[in-house]
């Protein structure tokens, strides 16, 4: 069934709020560029426009049900892995191995779509982990072997394993029910909760850093990140998480607050660890797929850390 607004009432309501907030941001962007003609607001406008598209795609996928959402995240994993392999050093002899690495994506998302939790949770860390070096020794090249095998493992964990937890969230059942592929249950609300808070946390840390930031927190990795930005962002996210907990999750207010603070900190670590990779390679953005934001990994970096943590907290306590 397409567009099942009834079982998705809260999700739809939260989306309406999000779109209202985005409209406000768009209007502010327009007003700023009208009032202040000398300054260039192109990047801000590009960012806001990209938010419209990203929220639009995400919202439509959620409303169209778990199967579409799972397919969307499979596509995101593919683009993210391609971006990762395009920016890190890979060896010509490993072309076949890289091909196998891409093949893990349809398999991993197939386990999710069929609700096979046991396979979903061990496929990349166990089977892919063992298969990749096996396939690499068949090629017989030992020069840079360790770097190459580590590189591929890191890429798979980062772009396939961690991001696929987002897709598994949507498959979590409503209480006492089996999850179907066409009707969204509580999982859709959890997914919205996590993605929204992680992204708002990025924005909040950036804004607090701009307003109050003075003390760099990781000067060698990300000079623009400040302690004030981090603290302001984490508190903002915690408060929002507390308010939204009753609406979108089975948690009560103080549990929501704790989870929100956790999302804020984990999101920061995810962001900084991708920055470290980019700095190591010597590039600024992982790509330019999303105008004003950079590549897809630049947008998903915080989620690679928050997704598995949030998923396991939810699964351990509530499902």
């Amino acid at each position: 069934m397409l567009f099942d607004f009834d079982s998705m009432r809260t999700v739809t309501q939260v989306f309406v709020f999000l779109l209202a907030g985005l409209s406000l941001a768009t209007v502010i962007g327009w007003a700023l560029s009208l009032a202040n003609k000398e300054k260039d607001y192109t990047e801000l406008k590009q960012r806001i426009n990209s938010w419209w598209i990203m929220i639009g795609i995400f919202g439509l996928a959620l409303l169209m049900g778990p199967l579409v959402t799972v397919m969307l995240f499979a596509m995101l994993s593919f683009i993210a892995l391609k971006e990762y392999f395009s920016m890190t050093p890979t060896r010509l002899v490993d072309r076949k191995v890289l091909f196998w690495a891409y093949l893990t994506i349809p398999l991993q998302y197939y386990w999710i779509a069929t609700g096979w939790y046991g396979m979903f949770i061990i496929f990349i860390p166990v089977y892919a982990f063992l298969f990749i070096p096996f396939r690499m020794v068949l090629a017989g090249e030992t020069k840079n072997y360790l770097r190459a095998v580590g590189n591929i493992h890191w890429g798979l964990m980062l772009t396939v394993f961690t991001l696929s937890h987002l897709a598994y969230l949507v498959m979590l059942p409503s209480e006492g029910e089996y999850q179907s592929l066409t009707m969204s249950g509580d999982g859709a609300a959890l997914l919205l909760y996590l993605v929204m808070l992680t992204q708002l946390n990025d924005v909040a840390q950036y804004v607090w850093g701009k307003i109050l930031g003075t003390t760099p927190i990781a000067p060698t990795i990300s000079p623009n990140k400040t302690r004030e930005g981090l603290i302001g962002g984490v508190i903002t996210t915690g408060v929002l998480a507390m308010i939204l907990a009753g609406l979108l999750t089975p948690m009560i207010w103080w549990q929501g607050l704790l989870v929100g603070l956790g999302i804020g900190i984990a999101g920061f670590i995810g962001d900084v660890s991708l920055s470290a990779i980019k700095r190591d390679i010597g590039i600024k953005d992982s790509g330019q797929l999303i105008p004003g934001h950079g590549g897809i990994l630049d947008r998903l970096d915080s989620l690679t850390f928050t997704a598995p943590l949030f998923f396991h907290v939810m699964r351990y306590f509530y499902f």
């Binding site: 010509l92 072309r95 797929l289």
Partner: protein, 216 residues
């Protein structure tokens, strides 16, 4: 028959090649695209993969597809009947005899004739594809052609990544992003004697602007 082939060509690029190039491979423009709106014009690019031609054709809009002709070696692409039909009608190549094979036809004249009739040629100054992701020295064919048609603009384009996606001598397709760098058009009339050096310097500059890794 001519129109059926042209329709097949449009369909092939619209339904198969463009989706593969734009979704499975993915193009990343490093700067604002600088491309010809109409012929005559020549696109000159580095050559690492069969996909180079596909990407260059995909960069241009479908409404000028009928004017686009990749310059390609007759002995390689006209090997058998099916490949010849496919290369001539679907890819739309301009087959030339490589130098030394047949002295009676001059490949530069063949290209010049196509340009006179308003075509957009795709020309790889390096000649054949060579080692994956390495640029070899430019041959003088590009200078001879530019000298013969001094007014025709040449658009230098640098592509990074296709030698990783589908290198020479390998049939396995492994997707990597393709980064494309554009450069202001050149012409022999404007550049004169320093033409060869200018083209070379442009490619060196474009190559250095891409900071992504080649094969390890």
């Amino acid at each position: 028959m001519k129109y059926i082939n042209l329709a097949l060509r449009c369909l092939f690029f619209a339904v198969i090649i463009k989706p593969i190039v734009k979704i499975v491979i993915g193009l990343r423009y490093q700067n604002t695209p600088i491309l010809p709106k109409d012929g005559p014009a020549i696109l000159i690019a580095n050559h690492n993969s069969h996909l180079d031609t596909m990407v260059l054709i995909s960069l241009l809009p479908l409404n000028i597809l009928h004017k686009v002709q990749p310059v390609a070696a007759a002995d390689y692409f006209l090997k058998n009947k099916f490949l010849a039909w496919f290369a001539l009608n679907i890819i739309g190549i301009l087959p030339i005899e490589r130098q030394g094979k047949d002295k009676s036809v001059n490949p530069i004249e063949q290209c010049a004739k196509a340009l006179d009739s308003g075509k957009i040629l795709i020309f790889f100054p390096e000649g054949s594809r060579g080692e994956p992701e390495k640029m070899t020295d430019l041959k003088y064919g590009v200078v001879k052609l530019a000298e013969r048609c001094p007014k025709v603009p040449l658009y230098p384009i640098y592509m990074h990544g296709l030698g990783k996606t589908l290198p020479k001598g390998d049939a396995l397709f492994v997707p990597f992003f393709c980064d494309v760098v554009f450069s202001e058009p050149l012409s022999y009339e404007a550049q004169g004697d320093g033409f060869y050096e200018t083209v070379k310097a442009r490619f060196v500059g474009m190559q250095e602007s891409v900071k992504l890794p080649k094969w390890d």
